[in-house]
C-alpha cells in the first residue's frame, strides 16, 4: 500500500463511471469547495466523463484566491519595512495587491523568502537575530494548526524575532455565507479532505441539516473524487442529505484532536474579509492575548494605503460559484498565468488557472 497509485486505477475508475451513469437520473449541481479538487477534476478530465445530469461548479476553496486586497496590501507594506524578512508559501508571491505584489517589491529590494514550511521560517529567524522574520499566515484549517505549532515552537526555542501576519480562513462559515446569500442553488457539496482531516465531519452537518444539501468528504486522487460523486448521486437519488466520508483512510469523524487543541490554544475566531464575498463573521483566526507578541500587525506600523480592486476582474463572482472563468472578458487575453490580473489565475489551484491549463473553452 503506497496510498497513491491504488487510487489512480483505470479499472476502478471505469466501474465508478459506469455506476454513476446508471444511477444518476435527477438533474443535480455539485460544488467542489476545494481548489485541490478543482485541479484533480480538470487534470483527470472528470467533468467530461460524468453524465449530463450532473453539473460541477468550483467553489471558494483556494486560500490565495479568497485573500482580500486589503489583507494582501498589509503583507506587501510589511515587506517594505527595513530589517523585515517576509517568509511565505510560493503561491502568494505573484498575487497583485492594490498597488504592487510581493514579487514586485522583492525586485525593488524587499527581503522575501519562499519557504516550504514554517520550520524553515523559524530557522531563518534563529539565524538572523537582528532581523524580524514575518510568516504570512494564509490557509484554511489544514494550515492553521501548523502555524499554531510554529508559535509554540518559537516559544520553546526562545525565538523572539518571529511574527505571524494571520490571514487564516475557516471553511464552514464561508459555506454558510454563500448558501445564505441564495445566489447559488446546490444539491451536493464535495467537502475538502484535508480541512476535514483536521476538523472532522461534524462541522459540515449543518449544511445537510439546514440546507438539505448532500455532503461527502473526498480525497484528492481521481478515484477518490469519482467515489465521492457516486456517493453524492446515491444520496440525491434516495432523497437523502447527510454527511458521509469517502476519504476514510485520511479523515476521522472527530478530526485531529491534537491539531484542534493547538489551534484553540493559540488562536480565537474573528471576522474576515473574503474576496468577492465580503465580511464573514467568525471566519478567521487571530492570536489570543497571551500570544499577541507574535502578531505582526501589532508589532509593526503597517501603512498599506488605499485599497483598489482590479478593473474588469470577476474573481469574486467565480469564487461564489455565480460565474465561471469563461464569463470573464479578461480570461486568456489580458489575464494569463504569465501575466495574471486576478488571484484565481495566479494560484495553481484557482479556477481560472485550472480552466486555462486543462480546459480552456470547455463548456459542459
Amino acid at each position: 500500500m503506497r496510498f497513491i497509485q491504488e487510487f489512480r486505477s483505470s479499472e476502478l475508475a471505469k466501474g465508478l463511471i459506469s455506476r454513476i451513469h446508471q444511477k444518476s437520473k435527477t438533474q443535480a449541481r455539485f460544488m467542489e469547495f476545494c481548489g485541490g479538487h478543482t485541479v484533480t477534476i480538470f487534470r483527470y478530465g472528470i467533468r467530461q466523463v460524468l453524465p449530463k445530469t450532473l453539473e460541477m461548479l468550483s467553489g471558494p476553496g483556494c486560500p490565495v484566491c479568497v485573500t482580500a486586497n486589503v489583507d494582501l496590501d498589509k503583507a506587501i507594506a510589511l515587506a517594505q519595512i527595513p530589517d523585515v524578512i517576509i517568509t511565505t508559501f510560493g503561491d502568494m508571491l505573484k498575487v497583485p495587491g492594490s498597488h504592487s505584489s510581493l514579487q514586485e517589491v522583492n525586485a525593488s529590494g524587499a527581503d522575501i523568502r519562499m519557504v516550504y514550511s514554517t520550520m524553515d521560517a523559524l530557522n531563518l529567524a534563529e539565524e538572523n537575530p537582528t532581523k524580524s522574520v514575518v510568516f504570512i499566515g494564509i490557509g484554511f484549517e489544514t494550515t492553521a494548526p501548523i502555524i499554531a505549532a510554529s508559535i509554540l515552537q518559537a516559544e520553546e526555542r526562545r525565538i523572539r524575532n518571529y511574527y505571524i501576519l494571520s490571514m487564516h480562513k475557516l471553511c464552514p462559515p464561508v459555506i454558510r455565507a454563500i448558501l445564505e446569500s441564495g445566489e447559488v442553488k446546490l444539491h451536493g457539496l464535495i467537502c475538502p479532505g484535508h480541512v476535514s482531516a483536521i476538523i472532522g465531519s461534524h462541522p459540515w452537518e449543518f449544511i445537510a441539516r439546514d440546507y438539505g444539501i448532500s455532503c461527502v468528504i473526498s480525497g484528492f486522487e481521481p478515484i477518490d473524487v469519482l467515489q465521492c460523486v457516486d456517493m453524492l448521486v446515491a444520496q440525491i437519488e434516495s432523497g437523502q442529505s447527510k454527511v458521509e466520508i469517502a476519504y476514510r483512510r485520511g479523515v476521522h469523524p472527530e478530526g485531529n484532536q491534537q491539531a484542534l487543541k493547538l489551534m484553540k490554544q493559540v488562536f480565537e475566531p474573528c471576522p474576515a474579509q473574503w474576496r468577492g464575498i465580503g465580511e464573514v463573521p467568525d471566519s478567521s483566526l487571530k492570536l489570543k492575548k497571551e500570544y499577541q507578541h507574535f502578531d505582526a500587525e501589532l508589532a509593526f506600523d503597517i501603512d498599506p494605503g488605499p485599497t483598489y480592486e482590479p478593473v474588469g476582474c470577476i474573481c469574486g463572482d467565480i469564487l461564489r460559484g455565480v460565474k465561471t472563468p469563461l464569463d470573464c472578458s479578461l480570461f486568456g487575453k489580458d489575464c494569463t498565468p504569465q501575466y495574471p490580473i486576478g488571484p484565481c489565475m495566479v494560484s495553481s489551484e484557482g479556477s481560472c488557472s485550472a480552466y486555462y491549463l486543462y480546459g480552456e473553452g470547455f463548456e459542459g
Binding site: 496510498f3 476502478l12 466501474g15 486560500p63 520550520m119 501548523i146 484535508h194 491534537q258
Partner: protein, 76 residues
C-alpha cells in the same frame, strides 16, 4: 494549498521524524501527530504530519471499489 501527501515514517527523534516521500527522505514535524510510529504512513502538509493514514480503511475502500468495478464489467 491544502495539499498533503503520504509519507512513510522511517525514524523518530523527539517531535520530528525522517520520512520517505516518493523515494526522497525528508525531515517532518510530528507536533500534530504525537502518536505516530515508525512504519506508519502519514499525510504531510507543509512539513507537518497532519494525520496518520489508516491502512485498514484504505484496503476496505479498495475492496468495495473493486466489487463495483467487477459488477460493472459483468453488466457490460
Amino acid at each position: 494549498m491544502c495539499l498533503a501527501i503520504p509519507a512513510l515514517i522511517k525514524l523518530i527523534e523527539d517531535k520530528e521524524a525522517e520520512a520517505e516521500i516518493g523515494g526522497i527522505t525528508r525531515r517532518i514535524s510530528l507536533w500534530l501527530t504525537p502518536e505516530a510510529k515508525v512504519g506508519d504512513y502519514v499525510l504531510v502538509h507543509t512539513g507537518y504530519a497532519i494525520n496518520i493514514l489508516d491502512e485498514e480503511e484504505a484496503k476496505e475502500t479498495l475492496r468495495l471499489l473493486l466489487e463495483i468495478a467487477e459488477l460493472a464489467e459483468e453488466q457490460s
